[in-house]
Amino acid sequence: MNSRIVTILLCTGLALSGILLALSLADFRLPGNQQGYEPPQPIAYSHRLHAGELQIPCLYCHSGAEKSRHAGIPAASVCMNCHRYVTAGYGAVRAEDEMAAKEKRSPRPIISDELRKLYQAVGLDDNLNPAPGKEPSPIAWTGVHKLPDFVYFDHRPHGKALVACQQCHGPVETMERMRQVPDLSMGWCVNCHRDANQKGIAGKAVKASLDCSACHF
């Protein structure tokens, strides 16, 4: 009788430990795997708005992807190409216009809180004039897609082979905040290279290298 209770208890314990182990293993990832990493950024920049809603091409800002290994994070001057004129969201401007019409005055320029950070970084005041005594200071974004130091990924051949940006970066045009979608592991890279060699990309045959020294040197 007693031994039966003990057996049941032990079995339950074993099952529970098994479940706990399975749970912890489900979340197990190799060191360096940052899948799902979605750090906060100094300016709440929305890819959903820019790339999705406004359909600005990826290469407009990440122009390095064609010319260099790094796609690059755009310089603040690139942001200013548009944001010299666009100083707040559509909704806020519209609301101000309606308010101005109601109050019978000319609408006031408004600047969104996030864009004010950009203007401060390039040393402009709220009227977008150079602010005297204000040192421009570069914006320190938090990198999302980071490969180990011994990996030399190059954007150029991938763009040239018409690999879509989303293939590696996920549905960026839907992301409010940038997130790492694939695990960026070597197996993931190599599988894609193998697939591409067999099936081609966008109907075109490609030769994706499987040599170690394609990425490691």
Binding site: G72, A75, A76, D149, P157, K160, C212, S213
Partner: protein
């Protein structure tokens, strides 16, 4: 070799080694140990990793084992817990137009590593220079760049540079320094005191103009130029014979016969990169055929140039002038004239032969002399004049400005300093307290002068004695120009914003002249007013300037030296000079290709570069011939006292140097500098770490105190020094026997003998058969591996022309910079742990007193059947589809099996995490190459990062990779273009053509590893051996 046999002066000396037997006639050896006992050497060489005497041998106790495992476990847990670091990405606020992050930009400039002023291409990445390469458009260096020039990049990121002016040794602001210097200069201007500007030859015309304008403000202002490696005697001799103090341009490419008396023109003499390229142009067996030049070298120590010579005669330094006199007499007899002056002893037979050769090649020959002896140089001028070489191989219409220093002017200046007559002394590029004899006296005299201003970049010996130190920019930070040879002007542009609070010399001088002009304005204005009018190809200055800035160089009309016809009057006086001598030993002070005059003493890359002849690194030493050492019962590493009587003495370790005169002790200059004090703690600090510096706390010993004044020349030789053995020893890091190529007996072909690693032919044999010198071994045809690799696409290969290789070691430093190779320090080098991916193997052949030398660059041979790949348990080294033997650092677990199995000994193991703590010095790291960590094997990759870059760029353009677009780092910098890289599957590529040549052979071909590197046989312009049994040499 009859030329040598009759002229050897060392025949009577006792020989410590038995003469070669006929069976050994083609035997090559790397060290005297190997020469004496090949069996033992072989056994030692087969051990890949040296057994050091200080290995820990005690078994760990149980307690120690538990402790260690506990720590390991805790360590593993702790590292597992660490969070991935947050990585910040900080883009520019406004992107410069041409700059794309991750892309390299190249800017043309001028090298400042020595006074030769070669052309530079500065590779910059994200705003910082990371590699210096040769500028192919430069008319003198033509794409080559020497070891010192490439290593000078590290000086930019040197955290020991002065970051601010010093006023009496204390940190100060530029305003304070300017105010104090300005007020003192004002007084001097009023009172008319003498002002002297002491500098190395000012190769920059713009800077010279500024200096002269600055000095013109004073009643008695003078520029005194002095070269620490002086060629003053050549200029003084031309003053006597041609009426103009001029250094002619040397055209080795036009010379069919070259005779050099102690001039190391391939190593350190005046402009070695330029001369190496030109010299090799006349020695390409395929192009020159019968016109292959003949080179005779007369010298007392084995120089790099002597290694290449077709005939090398060992002559005591005092005897060189009499030999030149004999040559002069023979040639003057051939010209139908009698030499004025006393009768000479009958010439040696070899001299006759040389005179005949020179006379036949009249107008196409060249005699050069590196002696600091005006009389010898007058005789050399006479010889060149008699041979009609002026106007052909010697150019007075395009004179050189690389060395203009005058020893006589320097001596006057030193007298003025000693007598305290000078009101203000400015020092630029010179470090007299380390470069002059009797430095103590000079130091006292300097301190007594009212105003001494140094422009030193670092706080060197002399800067310590100066009242004000106004640090100059690093040359990569400032605007300048150069005119090394009249008519060839080049620009120097900054590659980075100044890293510290330094100021260019020209700006300092213009500030003290009351003007505030930037270096850019000074150079541009000078070019507009002085350089632009000297050309008429381009009517617009802006276009001319932009083109010169882009190309780095411009051609303008030369300013001839204004020499008058040859005057033979001084010849008689030169002939009647007495010959010095006496004493058992003569001292020869020489520069090394790495340290030169010592200006690079701060540079660890250059300290770590093994000397191409002695193969020793991190030291200077007393070179003695094996016979001389045996006479004094000295062993390598014994400390010997070199005693020069009243002028002092030096304690130096002995190095046995075959091929040196038996009565000569040779010591390198440029060591024992204050700048090298920083290396006192160099190298990984582990249990068995040994101090890498000598008792003085410095690297090497400064030999400058033994320089000697004679006839108003600072000479590098001295007779009658005494050598006494001390009881101390100082181990030297000599890499000559590390990484020896050996074929284990069980792998040797059935005939039992292996093919020579060095193969050479004499010119007559080569002309009969391009494959002369080949060893006729069967190439194995059996194959363990199925030939199932796809044979399409590229297959990268290399060809190395042993004939063109001078051993200058530019490639070694180029590789070090390109591939982030760490500096390991002297102690580790002594343990065979140097990390260089490419090494220059130096082989001797012949007996030690009369050696022939061959240099062979050796790197990973990217074998098709790589033995390293089959033994790697984790597949960290595997073959690529393009024939590269890849090394994957992140996969390597450090078993070292691969290194053990590499027949070429081309693999290097990271025994430590070599220091990368200096954040400033880390800026020099190439971002395209992984920095390896401890426990990882590494090796030459054929610069795979450059292959990838070229492939991707070609792919982006949709064009195939053109031949020659990919240049490995070693190839790019090679002054003689000895290394060619390319695709061997492309039959039209240079490397394919070279590999099909008769001279091509592959090292260790008999073991069937199928290396991808073809070596081209060395060709020497020597007569064919009479019979098979005759000894070599």
């Amino acid at each position: 070799m009859s030329l040598l046999n009759n002229t050897r002066k060392t025949e009577s000396a006792p020989r410590p080694f038995a003469l070669l037997t006929s069976a050994d006639k083609t035997r090559y050896w790397k060290s005297l140990q190997e020469f004496a006992d090949q069996e033992a050497f072989q056994a030692e060489a087969e051990t890949e990793f040296a057994q050091t005497p200080l290995q820990i041998e005690a078994d760990p106790s149980r307690r120690a084992f538990l402790k260690a495992s506990g720590f390991t476990f805790a360590g593993a847990i702790l590292t597992g817990c660490s969070q991935a670091p947050v990585h910040k990405a900080v883009p520019n606020l406004a992107q410069p137009e041409e700059m794309v992050p991750g892309r390299s930009l190249y800017y043309a400039s001028t090298c400042n590593g020595c006074n030769a002023s070669c052309g530079l291409l500065m590779k910059t990445r994200d705003g910082r220079p990371i590699k210096l390469e040769g500028n192919p458009l430069h008319p003198l260096s033509r794409g080559g760049l020497c070891a010192a020039g490439q290593a000078s990049l590290l000086g930019l990121y040197d955290s020991h540079r002065l970051h601010h002016p010093l006023v009496r040794g204390m940190q100060a602001t530029w305003e304070d320094a300017d105010r104090a210097i300005g007020s003192q200069l004002e007084t001097i201007r009023r009172e008319g005191g003498p002002v002297r500007f002491w500098s190395t030859t000012v190769t920059s015309p713009a800077r010279e103009a500024v200096i002269r304008r600055f000095l013109a403000q004073f009643k008695d202002g003078q520029l005194v130029e002095h070269d620490p490696l002086s060629s003053s005697a050549i200029l003084d001799a031309h003053m006597l014979t041609h009426g103009a103090r001029v250094l002619p341009g040397f055209h080795f490419e036009k010379a069919f016969v070259v005779a050099s008396f102690d001039a190391d023109f391939l190593g350190t003499w005046i402009s070695p990169v330029q001369f190496s390229r030109a010299y090799m142009e006349a020695r390409n067996p395929e192009m020159q055929k019968e016109a292959f030049s003949f080179h005779a070298q007369f010298e007392s120590r084995l120089s790099l140039t002597g290694c290449k010579a077709d005939s090398r005669t060992v002559v005591a330094p005092e005897q060189l002038r009499p030999w030149i006199a004999q040559l002069a007499a023979l040639l003057s007899k051939k010209a139908g004239a009698v030499l004025p002056g006393p009768a000479l002893p009958p010439p040696a037979h070899s001299m006759d032969a040389l005179a005949e050769k020179l006379w036949t090649a009249r107008g196409k020959s060249l005699v050069v002399c590196g002696l600091q002896d005006v009389h010898a140089q007058v005789l050399v001028n006479f010889i060149n004049h008699t041979l009609g070489n002026y106007g052909t191989t010697l150019d007075l219409a395009h004179p050189s400005h690389q060395h203009r220093g005058s020893d006589a002017a320097l001596q006057t200046l030193l007298e003025e300093i000693r007598s305290g007559k000078i009101a203000a002394l400015f020092l630029h590029g010179v470090n007299p307290l380390a470069q002059m004899p009797r430095a103590n006296e000079l130091s006292v005299a300097l301190k007594k002068l009212p105003l001494v201003v140094s422009f030193a970049e670092r706080q060197d010996e002399t800067a310590g004695a100066a009242h004000y130190v106004c640090p100059d920019h690093h040359p990569l930070e400032s605007w300048s120009d150069a005119e090394p040879v009249s008519g060839a002007v080049s620009l120097s542009q900054p590659a980075i914003r100044p890293l510290a609070g330094t100021r260019p010399v020209v700006e300092s001088l213009s500030t003290w002249s009351g003007l505030r002009v930037s270096a850019y304005e000074i150079v541009r204005r000078h070019w507009k007013e002085q350089v632009f009018p000297r050309q008429n190809a381009e009517p617009s200055f802006d276009v001319f300037w932009n083109k010169a800035l882009h190309d780095g160089v411009a051609a303008v009309t030369a300013r001839p030296a204004g020499a008058r016809p040859f005057d033979s009057t001084p010849v008689a006086a030169a002939l009647s000079q007495p010959v010095a001598g006496g004493g058992e030993f003569s001292l020869v002070l020489y520069p090394k290709v790495s340290m030169l005059d010592g200006r690079h003493a701060y540079n660890p890359w250059l300290h770590e570069l093994p000397d191409p002849v002695s193969k020793a690194a991190w030291d200077n030493y007393a070179c003695l011939s094996p016979a001389a050492a045996a006479r004094l019962s000295l062993k390598e590493g014994d400390v010997v006292r070199v005693d020069a009587g009243a002028d002092g003495s030096l304690d130096l370790p002995v190095l046995l140097q075959p091929g040196q005169h038996d009565n000569v002790v040779a010591v390198a200059l440029g060591y024992g500098r204050k700048d090298s004090a920083r290396f006192a703690e160099a190298g990984p600090r582990w249990l068995n770490w040994r101090k890498p510096v000598g008792e003085n706390g410095l690297v090497g010993t400064n030999a400058a105190p033994l320089l000697r004044w004679q006839d108003r020349s600072l000479t590098y030789t001295r007779s009658a020094v005494r050598l006494t053995k001390t009881s101390r020893t100082h181990p030297l890091a000599i890499t000559q026997s590390h990484h020896s190529l050996t074929v284990p007996k069980n792998l040797a072909p059935s005939s039992g003998s292996t093919r020579p690693i060095i193969q050479e032919a004499v010119l007559p044999a080569y002309l009969k058969d391009a494959a002369a010198g080949a060893s006729h071994h069967e190439v194995p045809s059996q194959d363990l591996w199925p030939r199932d690799h796809a044979n399409d696409g590229h297959r990268w290969a290399m060809a190395v022309d042993l004939n063109a290789c001078t051993g200058c070691s530019a490639c070694v430093v180029a590789c070090q910079v390109e591939n982030n190779i760490p500096v390991v320090g002297k102690d580790e080098m002594g343990r065979r742990r140097e990390m260089h991916w490419i090494r220059i193997d130096r082989y001797y052949s012949g007996p030690p007193e009369d050696v022939s030398v061959a240099h062979q660059p050796m790197m990973c041979q990217q074998c098709e059947h790589a033995p390293c790949e089959t033994v790697c348990p984790v597949l960290a080294t595997v073959h690529s589809a393009e024939g590269l033997n890849q090394q994957i650092y992140n996969r390597c677990v450090g078993t070292r099996y691969c290194a053990n199995n590499c027949p070429y000994k081309a693999r290097r193991f990271n025994w430590f995490d070599y220091p990368h703590e200096d954040r400033l010095a880390n800026l020099v790291l190439n971002p395209d190459v992984t920095v390896r960590s401890r426990g990882v094997m590494e090796k030459c990759t054929f610069c795979v990062q450059r292959i990838q870059e070229a492939r991707i760029e070609a792919g982006n353009r949709g064009a195939p990779i053109a031949d020659g677009v990919i240049q490995t780092a070693c190839q790019q910098s090679c002054p003689t273009h000895a290394i060619v890289f390319g695709d061997i599957h492309d039959p039209g590529s240079r490397v394919s053509q070279l590999s099909r040549q008769g001279r091509a052979y592959r090292v260790l071909e008999e073991i069937n590893v199928r290396p991808s590197v073809n070596y081209l046989r060395l060709v020497r312009n020597r007569p064919e051996k009479k019979s098979e049994g005759e000894n070599h040499g």
